[in-house]
């Protein structure tokens, strides 16, 4: 049977539309770039940047307080009081990220993780200052749920109504760090995005490679990606952390100090009670002091000197405005 005119026109129109459609589709999807540009474009991926969480408290403000005592809650209160009160750090409506070190699946007494009592003390102060929300977040080395549970941090957070944010894959994004080695890196960014204030609460620990894990090293726990490569230049990388983040405050939890077999510990005999908290705004100074609690000489701790050389803080805490307080 021969095709009639109507049928012919219908088919011709159909074919024409299909051809035009394929041409438009191809033009829309067309990618003229070759290898070099392709790989370069990977580098230029969108990155987020961290804002500074620091507060300006004017000249002459106390930069560091060393608190001795037995009761973390009283110690935190007294220490912060000596620095002008919590109101000068956290204001009404703030969202505060508290970053403990929950890297390992350990009981609090083993000193491998931030003491839940200290975390609670910090969170209570923030609450008192009128914080709208408190987030507790870390990206542990061991399995996250187990770490938060066994370290007691989960319970502590629940006790004070803080939200624990677990390192789900969606919570990470590429962040501009601008360090000497860490230029951009995958970071547990979601809590930092939400937060208006950031407080690092780190245990004071021996470390097998970099000698000590304190408030600077604590930020390791907000990084993702291939962070097991950091060890190849550990001191430079830790100095990069000081460049990466400007926290509102850091607290060195030396209620217990992990003296040996760090950073994991594992036996009670690895731990010494030191009944000390060091609160400060300059991580380098806090860590320089903290190193003495491990019975070691801050002159020999490479990363704090690297950070100091970059102007990220001072290892000479004695020359700063600091206080020593007895509490509880």
């Amino acid at each position: 049977m021969r095709m009639d005119r109507r049928e012919f026109l219908k088919r011709a129109a159909g074919a024409g539309l299909a051809i035009a459609g394929s041409a438009l589709g191809a033009a829309w999807l067309y990618d003229p770039r070759g290898g070099a540009e392709y790989f370069r474009s990977e580098e230029n991926k969108k990155t987020a940047s961290l804002k500074s969480y620091r507060v300006d408290r004017g000249k002459g403000a106390v930069e560091m307080t060393v608190v001795r005592g037995k009761d973390p809650e009283k110690m935190m209160r007294a220490g912060i009081q000596a620095m002008g009160g919590i109101g000068s750090f956290v204001q009404k409506g703030d969202v505060v990220l508290i970053k403990p070190n929950v890297a390992f699946d350990r009981a609090p007494a083993l000193g491998a993780t931030t003491s839940p009592d200290v975390l609670k003390a910090v969170a209570l102060l923030c609450k008192k200052a009128g914080a709208r929300k408190i987030i507790v977040a870390d990206n542990p080395i061991n399995q996250p749920e187990g770490c938060f549970f066994k370290s007691g941090i989960q319970q502590a957070a629940a006790d004070v109504g803080a939200e624990v944010m677990l390192p789900k894959p969606g919570a990470f994004s590429l962040v501009k760090i601008g360090g000497e080695i860490l230029k951009t890196w995958s970071m547990f960014h979601r809590p930092l995005e939400h937060a208006t204030k950031v407080i690092g609460v780190a245990p004071c620990k021996d470390h097998n490679l970099c000698s000590a894990s304190m408030t600077m090293k604590n930020w390791y726990g907000l990084l993702g990606g291939r962070r097991n490569q950091f060890h190849q230049q550990i001191h430079t990388v830790i100095a990069d952390f000081a460049q990466m983040i400007r926290p509102t405050l850091v607290v060195l939890d030396a209620t217990r100090v992990l003296m040996q077999n760090g950073p994991t510990g594992g036996r009670l005999s690895d731990v010494q009670e030191a009944d000390t908290l060091v609160i400060g705004t300059d991580m380098v100074a806090v860590d320089a002091f903290g190193y003495t609690l491990l019975g070691r000489d801050p002159e020999k701790l490479e990363y704090i000197h690297k950070a100091e050389a970059r102007g990220l803080g001072s290892t000479k805490w004695k020359e700063q405005n600091w206080r020593e307080v007895l509490a509880g």
Partner: protein
Amino acid sequence: MRITRVRLISQIFFIGLALFFAFITQFSYLKGYPVSLFLEVDPLVAIASSITTHTLYRSLIWSLVILIPTLVLGRFFCNWICPYGTLHQFVGWLFSNRGPRGVKERLESNRYRKWFALKYYILIGMLVAAAFGSLQIGLLDPICLFFRSLTISVLPAVDMASGWIYVQPFVYQFAWVVGPILIFFVAMNLVIPRFFCRVLCPLGALLGLLSRVSLWRIERDEQRCDNCKLCLQRCQGASDPHTALRKSECLVCFNCLDDCPHGALGFSMLPSSPHHEVAVPDLSRRRVIFAGLTGLLFFSFSRASGEITKNFKKEVMRPPGSTAEPEFLERCAKCGQCMRVCPTNVLQPAMLEAGVEGIWTPVMNMKMGYCELNCTLCGQVCPTGAIQKISIAQKLGVGEFTDLGPVKTGTAFFDQGRCLPWAMDTPCVVCQEVCPISPKAIFSREVEIVNRWGKKITLTRPFVDPTLCNGCGICEHECPVKDYRAIRVTAVGETRSRDRSLLLK
């Protein structure tokens, strides 16, 4: 309410419960729930593992809850409780021609076929293998299949779509095999409804054999019956309710009661006339013997390959608390509960690493995860004691277990040709950092060397202390030499077997 409605509620309840258990079998939700309950009440798991081990492990005694009623009521488990059966029934229903024109097709699809007897031969072969010490029922046991498929393939897929299941996504080797097996069995319902239940299920076969003595059964009143065969329309077991009932095939679904237009069918105690039933499945004696021989030969041929003796593989690292390999193969039902509950994803289904008998048994793959020091969850959920229920103290060898020493699952070895400080003048020792033992099982020596540019550098080079290493594998897991790690754990030194120990003690 009609009895079929009650049955449907029961099925929905039990498949819901099974899915709920599968979901909560993880660190954050596991709060003493009996998450392995379905496996513990499974009479096939109980009977076959008592044949292999001559004992009935812990909660398996609960299988009497299913076994005893079966002796009275028949295969009610298959159509009232079994979640895998419910899945197949649902899919069969979904794809059946349910309209008035489909009657003929439906009658045909539920016709009994002689080869449905295959499941009995499968059961016999598996039980004979069990008698020699090889527990293979888990390959086809519907409860093991159901939970294994969920753990290895379905839940990771659900998580991919939703992010609801894990904090950090879990993956399983051979998910691409376990998943398609599930799809195949489910898809076979389009060819023959409840293909798996009618043709392959060894648990169904066992319950079919047991139901021989059951007192109650479907009974047809020949006065009322006009041989319309409409009772076959939705018959789940293809058990011929329209003629002499095949008791061993009847799943007690009661659909025939609903579908009989004359009210000729009922469920009654003690048959009024014995020729109204076929009490025993139609098995030929020669085929039974052949099936048994096949089971025996399967056992001999697989042991003849030496995979659990001389030729055991370094990759076969079993979870902490596992029994020695021969007993492990007597106990492991391949249900995958340990892999589900493992918080680090280190437990993976074996394909042929552990020999053909070890298909789907758990092995540790340190690329996927590592064994968390303070964790014994795998042994808590294991229904058969392949992984014994041990405490943390026992795993660590402390307190009252000091004399036994820690449970070791293998030993770590450095590959000095790939290790950064050993081969490439580059600092690292991540392995030492993450070693959870105190004092650390990885120690180091500082060496001062002159590098290729003439610069003096100090390197920290790691070593393993085999007396302390428990084979947890976190060192291997965290090693930055990602593809083929510079420190690797192998099975030697595991405490579950003296034959595989490393050091003289």
